[in-house]
Amino acid sequence: MTRMPSAMPARRTPKAGFDRVFRHASFGAALLVLVMLAGIMAAMVAGGWPALREFGPGFITSSVWDTQNEQYGAWPAIAGTLSTALIALMIGVPLSLGIAVYLTQLAPPWFRKPVSTAIELLAAVPSIIYGMWGLFVFVPLFAAYVQVPLSNLVEGMPVVGTILYARSPSGLGIFTAGIILAFMIIPFIASITRDMLEQIPSVLRESAYGIGATTWEVVRHVLVPQAGASIIGAIMLGLGRALGETMAVTFVVGNANRLSASILDPGSTIASRIANEFNEALGLQLNALIALGCILFFVTFVVLVIARLLVARVKRY
């Protein structure tokens, strides 16, 4: 600002070159984001191709994972991924919505900040710490106080006896992984939902209170319909995270390669299978693991695209 006007033309000429370089550099960096996504896509397909070509569509439907005979099927891992994510959503979504409602509608103002900071710190805890907490603290408690009594209770019952009976009540299993995942996705769903609820114009709430609605009725008939699409978007973002979460799941899921009808039995997810076997894998097994990654990539990609579209649609208004 203290520059002499007469100095301007002299300074301008070298700056013009820098200006162009700067613009191209920043454009290049922005394009790199696209290149990265394309690169991940290409690398997954290329790395998994030998396995996908060898087994064809049977790769997805087969449930054999036999390293001796080089037969690989993805179904147990896919089923494990879907069921852990589903359990995580079933536990995590009600909790997150309750938290968002509490933070925006019920908590006294001075209490909101520390509580939302605490919930968000839950997101900053690294996944491997959840794994250790799960393995050493949660799993023994879960085995002793839930799995054993529950298995004794349902033993021999039709359907329930199959789904909830643990053959070896070690505490490890699909259901345990789902519970841990639920706590990992809560901060994401809760904080997005909270932001969405806060954006709703207060006139809408006030007019509902004005005609005598209770807080529950305001939440149910005003806030949820208003923010519905973006709440579903937030839930899908949580789903995206639950599908690809690796370390915590690897610790507690039990890493069994076979399929079990019981959700209390050990299983594996795509991510845990890759983390567990990758460093010992050679040849076709390596390709099969990357092909698993390829499947995970396309599933999470679709989920995340839908999530972002839903969240973005309401943000604009």
């Binding site: 200006d19 922005a30 991940i40 309750g98 050493f136 995270r241 370390m247 999470t300």
Partner: protein
């Protein structure tokens, strides 16, 4: 009873005229929502408390001076893993910062409303929540397999790729908050766009951009999955060339936690405490900067 739980900013309800079933539903919802919040906060303190209880015992001077022990070896520390983690994290941030800041700048300053900028912003948001294990596989395919070996460089690149979307996002958000007249005033003095951006817009948004970098640091410091396929781990000091495995805290914790040796498990707890405390401090500092900048 119900009156005292009503937040002060809401009008008090004339409960006498509200039907009992509606009143019950309302009370049920209040209790459930508060209870759910309590559960989440409780789990956070449970995890932190457990880390302190189990981790403090493993912390001593040798934790920071001795290198990680081999299988069945007594004693040992985490020194090489801590240093290795620093190097990998720093490498990742050093790769991600220029790319992320420049890309965020392009989105906020040059691209703005263009179709391409919208697409890039969208893809960046997807990458932001993409599973980190896939980034690890990607770097394995492009850097580890072709060069026939795990390396610190591959680990740094993987962490960098995870950090880039975080930095792009925060940089763009922060630059968007800088008022337009500031840029116009600078441009009116005859400054070319690059000068407007580097000496006015960036300066105004500095605190926010630093926050983004800190958040990215916190995000990658505890990442384990991508390092399993790239930097791997070992029980030695890394060679300065960073070729071959580089020992690091997260993978050490992963390997030590599930091993049957008692001193390994103890070190895994100590490592978890160190890493979690550093990450929580980083994220709290980042939040403080944002709060102070406003």
């Amino acid at each position: 009873m119900t009156l005292t739980t009503t937040p002060r900013d809401l009008p008090r309800q004339p409960w006498g005229r509200v039907r009992r079933s509606r009143r019950t539903a309302d009370r049920l919802m209040r209790v459930t929502a508060a209870g759910f919040t309590l559960i989440a906060v409780f789990v956070l303190f449970w995890i932190l408390g457990m880390l302190f209880v189990k981790g403090i015992g493993g912390l001593s001077l040798t934790t920071f001076t001795a290198i990680t022990p081999g299988p069945g070896t007594e004693g040992g520390g985490l020194a090489n893993a801590i240093v290795g983690s620093f190097v990998l994290t720093f490498l990742g941030i050093a790769i991600a910062t220029p790319i992320g800041v420049l890309a965020g700048t392009w989105l906020a300053e040059y691209g703005r409303g263009s179709q391409l900028a919208n697409l890039i912003r969208f893809i960046n948001d997807i990458l932001l929540s993409a599973p980190s294990i896939l980034i690890g596989l990607f770097v394995y395919v492009i850097l580890v397999e072709p060069f026939r070996g795990y390396s610190g460089w591959a680990g740094g690149v993987a962490l960098g790729i995870i950090a880039i979307p975080v930095i792009v996002r925060t940089t763009e958000d922060m630059l968007n908050l800088v008022p337009g007249p500031l840029r116009e005033a600078c441009a009116a003095l005859g400054a070319p766009p690059s000068v407007v951006i580097t000496s006015v817009t960036w300066r105004a948004a500095k605190a926010g951009m630093v926050t983004g970098i800190l958040l990215a640091l916190a995000r990658i410091a505890g990442e384990t999955a991508p390092l399993l396929f790239t930097a791997l781990n070992n029980n030695f000091w890394f060679s300065p060339s960073l070729v071959g495995g580089v020992s690091n805290l997260p993978v050490t914790i992963y390997q030590f936690a599930s091993a049957p040796y008692e001193n390994w498990q103890q070190l895994a707890w100590a490592g978890s405490l160190i890493i979690t405390v550093s990450i929580l401090v980083l994220s709290l500092v980042a939040r403080r900067i944002v709060a102070g900048g406003k």
